[in-house]
């Protein structure tokens, strides 16, 4: 069991029973809260903007091939 300090629980909106995953990152353990898909979607950008990002990154990669 891990106890996360109250100040950090408040800052990251963590409540009893919330699920998290722990990942290793260059010798540091990171705690990543698992949010609901709906909550992530609400915080995200629109499909139109996401498609622009998809298109842009693809074009950047293909330009490197020229």
């Amino acid at each position: 069991m891990i106890t996360i300090p109250a100040s950090l629980r408040k800052k990251y909106s963590l409540r009893d029973g919330d699920q998290v995953i722990i990942v290793e990152d260059e010798g540091i353990l990171k705690i990543i809260p698992i949010e609901s898909i709906k909550s992530l979607q609400n915080r995200s950008i629109t499909t139109k903007k996401m498609l622009e990002i998809l298109k842009g990154s693809r074009e950047e990669e293909l330009e490197l091939e020229e």
Binding site: I34, T47, L54
Partner: protein, 136 residues
């Protein structure tokens, strides 16, 4: 009957948008309820992460990938020699039009005879490749 598909970056990335297209919602629900078995070449998730990171930051991307693993029984496919050789051949042949990630997903779809689900509009005609395009 369960259908088997190969998922490209686009549909997964669009699942994490404010106004997720209805077709993507249906696709992801079918995966969640195991009506569709979705195979994903592992590096594709690196590209999904990159797009989500550019869009909403690293924490968002980390949370999204974690939620994806928790909520959807995606079949993650590691890179095998068969896929590497096939993808390498595709990249060599179509290097001006296909990204490395495209090539990996297409290689797996071709080898396993799966339908590739993608948002990519400008895929060249590749013999034997079956594609379901999500066009927005």
């Amino acid at each position: 009957m369960t259908s088997k598909i190969c998922l490209d970056t686009g549909p997964i990335t669009l699942h994490f948008t404010k106004d997720e297209p209805k077709e993507i919602t249906t696709l992801m629900n079918n995966i969640k309820h195991q009506k569709t078995e979705a195979y994903v070449i592992s590096p594709i998730l690196v590209e999904v992460f990159m797009h989500l990171c550019i869009a909403n930051g690293q924490l968002f991307a980390e949370s999204s990938l974690s939620a994806l693993h928790k909520n959807y029984p995606l079949k993650l496919v590691p890179l095998t020699n068969d896929i590497i050789l096939k993808a390498g051949g595709l990249k060599c042949q179509y290097r001006m039009v296909l990204s490395y990630f495209d090539c990996l997903a297409i290689a797996y779809a071709l080898n396993e005879r799966l339908v590739l689900h993608t948002t990519e509009k400008n895929l060249p005609t590749i013999p034997n490749l079956k594609v379901k395009k999500y066009q927005y």
